[in-house]
């Protein structure tokens, strides 16, 4: 067992974990943060995307011990004071989901994308989401949601979401 201390969605946590424990397992099984989901065994689908020190990562491809001393934000930490994050709003507004399984990862990746490029073109959105797979929507409304979020959110709100 290795002791790790990190911040998850603004809360400081300390735990003993097996080195082989994946970050996504730690979030789900130790912390009960089941908002972050597992969609594949090959690190291809992006459903498990969270932010590590403000940058998107696939939490199934990071060990919990690698997050020691760092800051993790999951889909559960995006909303502030009961207010949905502008990207969450946009997905609701534009019908950016059907079954919803890919949505936590899509939203976390979209937030990262907009942090880096607040006014993306449609093509840039499609490329920026290439590591996230959706089986339902055909991506059309997901792309629309991200463009909607870019159009409707002030930059400050987005930067504050990191």
């Amino acid at each position: 067992m290795t002791q790790i201390s990190l911040t998850v969605d603004g809360t400081q946590v300390t735990d003993d974990v097996e080195p082989r424990m994946l970050l996504v397992q730690y979030l789900r099984e130790k912390l009960g943060k089941t908002g972050t989901v597992i969609g594949c065994d090959t690190s291809n689908c992006g459903a498990c995307t969270v932010h590590l020190d403000g940058r998107s990562v696939k939490s199934c491809n990071v060990l919990a011990v690698q997050a020691d001393g760092h800051e993790v934000t999951t889909i559960e930490g995006l909303a502030t004071d009961g207010q949905l994050h502008p990207v969450q709003e946009a997905f609701r507004e534009c019908h950016g989901l059907q079954c919803g399984f890919c949505t936590p990862g899509m939203i976390m990746q979209s937030v990262d994308l907009l942090n880096e490029n607040p006014h993306p073109t449609e093509q840039e959105v499609r490329l920026g989401l290439e590591g996230n797979l959706c089986r339902c929507t055909g991506y059309h409304n997901i792309v629309k949601s991200v463009l909607y979020a870019a159009e409707h959110a002030g930059q400050d709100e987005k930067a504050g979401a990191r």
Binding site: R20, L22, R55, V57, N61, Q66, E130
Partner: protein, 284 residues
């Protein structure tokens, strides 16, 4: 799936990492970004007794200048390679290739050194490093040595890095102001290339004076397209000007046949992608 059990150390200096490696020998596996290693461990294709995580060694990160060379820490991430100003100015090809690796999430974690050390024949960074004549600085208990890219890549998943050695940095001769392009052929998003071509070109007033071209996934390791390079010297930087040279790109190669394409198809791809890459690199 989750990996088999292993012990874990995260040394904070190269010296400590090397002594851990010497102590555990065969039973140890080094981890950089983990983006290739963790999938391997999760599939249980490998089960090391101990993982030595280089992620806490700050001196292995970042890009600096040293005279005529750019020195890139092995742990510099693909994402940093894409945005770093020094890389842009002096080794644009590396930045272009890094932008094509995997997807945004993987680029945030995966490293230049880890990519080269992994030596997947379909890896995007190896051919870019080879085209630029990069030197790989490798540290061992007995000191460090420097291996040119042409000797570094040995075979499928095999490099010149010894069992108890660590790749610490990559030195790249500056190609300041050279145009560059990485042309990658895939069937679906964020995939490994079926074939890709790394090209960097010194061109002025519509004429190419020097070109460097390397091929990804055209054999068991990255390959230089030397016939093409020779034929490009003095060529016009236009589609027609580079066509004859690009047609020689697959010369001397023996690419594999697999589900993504057979050998002849890959050879054809190499010529087409070379033409595109060189034209784009020359800014024609």
């Amino acid at each position: 799936m989750i990996p088999a059990k292993f012990d874990y150390v995260a040394p904070t200096s190269i010296e400590d990492a090397l002594s851990a490696l010497v102590q555990h020998g065969d039973d140890a596996k080094i981890m950089a970004g983990g983006q290739s290693l963790l999938p391997v461990l999760r599939m249980r294709l490998n089960a090391p007794e101990i993982v030595i995580d280089l992620g806490r060694i700050d001196s292995l990160r970042g890009v600096r200048e040293d005279g005529d060379a750019l020195v890139i820490g092995a742990l510099t991430t693909h994402a940093e390679m894409v945005t770093n100003d020094l890389v842009h100015q002096h080794a644009l090809l590396l930045s272009k290739a890094a932008a094509e690796v995997a997807d945004s999430q993987v680029r945030h974690r995966g490293t230049f050194g880890g990519s080269c050390a992994h030596a997947d024949p379909a890896g995007d960074m190896g051919s870019a490093a080879l085209a630029l004549d990069a030197e790989f600085v490798i540290a061992g208990a007995g000191g460090t040595r420097s291996v040119p890219a042409s000797d570094f890549f040995v075979d499928l998943f095999e490099t010149a890095i010894g069992e108890d050695e660590i790749l610490t940095e990559i030195r790249v001769p500056k190609r300041t102001g050279w145009g560059a392009h990485y042309e990658k052929f895939v069937r679906v998003a964020h995939q490994w290339p079926i074939v890709a071509v790394a090209a960097t070109v010194n061109a002025s007033e519509g004429t190419i004076s020097e070109a460097r071209v390397a091929l990804t996934n055209m054999g068991s390791k990255p390959l230089r397209a030397t016939a093409t390079e020779r034929a490009l010297a003095g060529a016009a930087a236009t589609e027609d000007g580079v066509r004859a040279a690009a047609d020689q790109a697959a010369e001397g190669t023996n690419p594999p046949s697999d589900l993504n394409g057979d050998s002849d198809y890959r050879k054809h791809l190499a010529t087409v992608l070379t033409r595109r890459a060189v034209v784009a690199a020359a800014g024609a």
